[in-house]
Amino acid sequence: MISLLTDNTMLAALIALVGLGTLFGGLLGYAAERFKVGSDPIVQQLDDLLPQTQCGQCGFPGCRPYAQSIADGDAINKCPPGGQSTINAIANLLDISAPSLDEEHGEEEMRTIAYIREDECIGCTKCIQACPVDAILGAAKLMHTVIAAECTGCDLCVEPCPVDCIDMLPIVKNIDQWQWPAPPNPLDLIATTASAMQEDAA
């Protein structure tokens, strides 16, 4: 046996490689099972990152279906309300490079909230049926109003309104919500000074 191996180096090498392969493959397989990290299913994790506006701008009826679709390999840049930060977070989770927002599905805009001009409301309940998060209060032939704290700004109530009495208004920042803006990136700053200096020279 030994002599057979020493005589046929080709065979010996083959056996050694196959043997090592089997051994380490087995070890790795065992380790993968034994030390498995229990974590939320990927759909859940993706859903957690989505903004939950349930606006359907991605083409899916709600955030969870889109999360499911991403898990099945769909593009991650179809969520305008989440914007670039959501895309980045998902890219980070899936360990892929972050694309920019797909403009087909809309642009990243300032967060807005629906307001019903209550004088004009005829009480048709169409917006109530359209609201994905039950944030509109009212009954048939009675005035409706939006619970501002629950409104996700999804825009879905605007279209069905027969009298166009719903406005999407940007959230007004008051003094308590004010924050220092991040200082400009020094490199950008320098680049602009550079071009400014070049302009001066020209």
Binding site: D47, L50, P51, Q52, T53, Q54, G62, C63, R64, S85, P132, V133, D134, A135, E150, T152, N174, I175, W178, Q179, W180, P181, A182, P183, N185, P186, L189, I190, T193
Partner: protein, 577 residues
């Protein structure tokens, strides 16, 4: 001699305190108008209790505390309320907030004051109410309502009372001069607080050693009183509450806790003075000592100003040259914020107005690259790694920022001060902190939205099943009817009379045949039982993984289905008999 601990980090900026100490505390002429923001303190805005056009006397309450952490506001002088509206206030944003405007009548007539010179007879809650009623909030810059601070002190026995007379910010001398001139009243204030807190074992006054006159004044008045005056080497930011407590006691306040959790109460010396006035003289907090400093004003001096005095009034009285002024700062150069306009009022926490010239505080040089020199880490009093925080802030890496304890940053500015590359580190941290808080809120709202969305889905589904079941039941009825009474089938294109006739026929048929009735009831019972089964199944699912609300709803639908089954059974038995 008491042991002094050396706090880590710190910087030694030029203290620039001599300029404003050349003369004693001054008084300003009464301004034409006083503007009193409803939020001059940490916590909820005060609630207005006067109306426009009302005549008010000096010291009259204008707005009362609206929550446990809030502070009342009083009229600093007599006059008329001429407006209650949004005005530009002293805030880094330069934005407006609700304010009360008083047009002074020039008489400066006091409301009747009820002092309590015999405070030893009062109970702690009574004293606390007096302090709360007087609207006393921390005068050292933060503006935390003092009554709330002393309230926290009662949850756990307080064994150490620390009076913060450190005043480590350059330029500011308000506490210094107050101690020099009115040390006796400060000591009285300490006695009141000590009585209120149940006589703590240790009472310390912490003061930096660059104020020898103030230390002498305190020592003179403290002899034999059990109050210890502790002076320690000057280093910014020794006056931070956490830093001062460490310097004097060697204890660190655990992250996310308050000094009261360690049995320590720490108050600013000016606040103590205000408490003395509130309790013994019955005067609410309507004035404070504010330092005016900087080369853009010809006169640098401390003033006892009325709260609500516009900054422009203070500047105008001191030969201010706007063209010389590089920026206008409320507070000290290290932690103060820039004012975009001088038309804002001075508030309870305004320690200083600094109007530096361009040579004193020049415009910032352009930012250079961070070379991670580590000077910032050496200067950080919280032992953070500012340079790492900076890189992570630029990368918006919230996870790493929190792992590096960004929220333990006290924004003292020592890191930016020493940075050789002029990086505005503190601004980066402020912006990142706000971003992280916003992200947390967004996440919480998203979770609520998701729950509501999912609940709605379940509700719609349930409505669908109910409708489906009804439709199914109707279909079976019609089919049965078709089978049992084929003769009633209507010829197409029949007249209205025919239809009515047919309906009548159907009606009589239904009434006529008890078998048919029973058959129908049996079908109803079957459908009801099916619904009950479905509802029970859903309930089972809901118990496993849905929210409490959903479970309750499912439970209700099971009950309804059960009732339906019961009704059907009952009627069936009736018909059978």
């Amino acid at each position: 001699m008491r042991r002094i601990w050396d706090a880590p980090g710190g910087v030694h900026p030029p203290d620039n305190k001599a300029q404003s100490l050349t003369s004693s505390i001054g008084q300003l002429p009464l301004p034409e108008k006083l503007i009193l923001p409803l939020t001059q303190h940490v916590g909820a805005a005060a609630k207005v209790c006067v109306s426009v056009g009302e005549k008010v006397l000096k010291g009259q309450k204008l707005a009362s505390a609206s929550a446990s952490i809030s502070a009342a506001i009083h009229a600093p002088s007599s006059g008329w309320i001429t407006a209650i509206e949004e005005r530009a206030v002293a805030h880094p944003s330069g934005m407006s907030a609700p304010c009360i405007e008083i047009t002074c009548d020039g008489e400066d007539r006091w409301i009747e004051c009820m002092g309590y010179p015999d405070y030893k007879q009062a109970t702690p809650p009574q004293l606390r109410n007096l302090i709360a009623d007087a609207g006393v909030a921390g005068l050292g810059g933060a503006g935390f309502p003092s009554a709330a601070k002393l309230e926290r002190g009662t949850h756990m026995p307080v064994d150490t009372l620390i009076i913060n007379a450190t005043e480590c910010e350059p330029y500011i001398t308000a506490d210094d001069i107050l101690i020099r001139e009115r040390a006796d009243q400060i000591i009285q204030g300490i006695d009141i607080i000590s009585h209120l807190l149940g006589t703590p074992k240790t009472i310390l006054i912490g003061i930096e050693n660059n104020k020898p006159e103030a230390i002498a004044a305190l020592n003179h008045h403290c002899q034999g009183s059990g109050i210890e005056v502790v002076s320690f080497p000057t280093k910014y930011p020794s006056g931070g509450e956490k830093q001062l407590i460490y310097i004097l006691t060697g204890k660190e306040i655990p992250s996310g806790h308050l000094p009261a959790d360690l049995g320590i109460v720490c108050l600013n010396s000016s606040t103590v003075f205000a408490i003395k006035r509130a309790v013994i003289d019955g005067e609410p907090l309507i004035s404070r000592i504010t330092t005016l400093a900087g080369e853009a004003c010809d006169i640098n001096r401390n003033y006892e100003i009325l709260i609500g005095t516009p900054v422009s009034h203070l500047l105008a009285q001191n030969a201010f040259h706007p063209e010389l002024c590089s920026r206008l700062i409320m507070g000290g150069p290290m932690m103060g914020f820039s004012l975009t306009s001088s038309d804002v009022p001075l508030v309870k926490s305004s320690t200083c107005i600094l109007a530096p010239s361009h040579t004193e505080i020049p415009d910032d040089d352009p930012v250079q690259a961070c070379i991670r020199c580590g000077l910032c880490a050496e200067a950080c009093p919280a032992s953070l790694l500012p340079q790492q925080l900076y890189w992570y802030a630029r990368a918006d890496d919230h996870e790493r920022l929190q792992a590096h304890n960004l929220f333990d940053c006290i924004e003292c500015g020592a890191c930016s001060y020493v940075c050789p590359s002029n990086i505005p580190l503190v601004q980066h941290y402020r912006s990142s902190k706000a971003d992280i808080v916003n992200a947390r809120t967004a996440k919480a709202t998203a979770a609520v939205a998701r729950e509501r969305f999912e609940f709605r889905q379940v509700r719609l589904e349930m409505a669908d099943t109910v409708r489906e079941a009804k439709r199914e039941a109707r279909r079976i009825v019609t089919e049965k009817a078709k089978i049992t009474s084929p003769t009633t089938t209507q010829p197409s294109g029949s007249s209205a009379a025919d239809i009515i006739k047919a309906a009548q026929l159907r009606g009589t048929a239904r009434q006529a045949s008890p078998e048919q009735q029973r058959a129908k009831l049996e079908r109803t019972l079957m459908a009801a039982e099916m619904r009950l089964k479905e509802a029970q199944q859903r309930l089972l699912q809901a118990t496993n993984n849905a929210s409490v609300d959903q479970q309750a709803q499912q439970l209700a639908s099971v009950e309804a289905a059960k009732r339906k089954v019961e009704q059907a059974t009952q009627r069936l038995t009736e018909v059978s008999h």
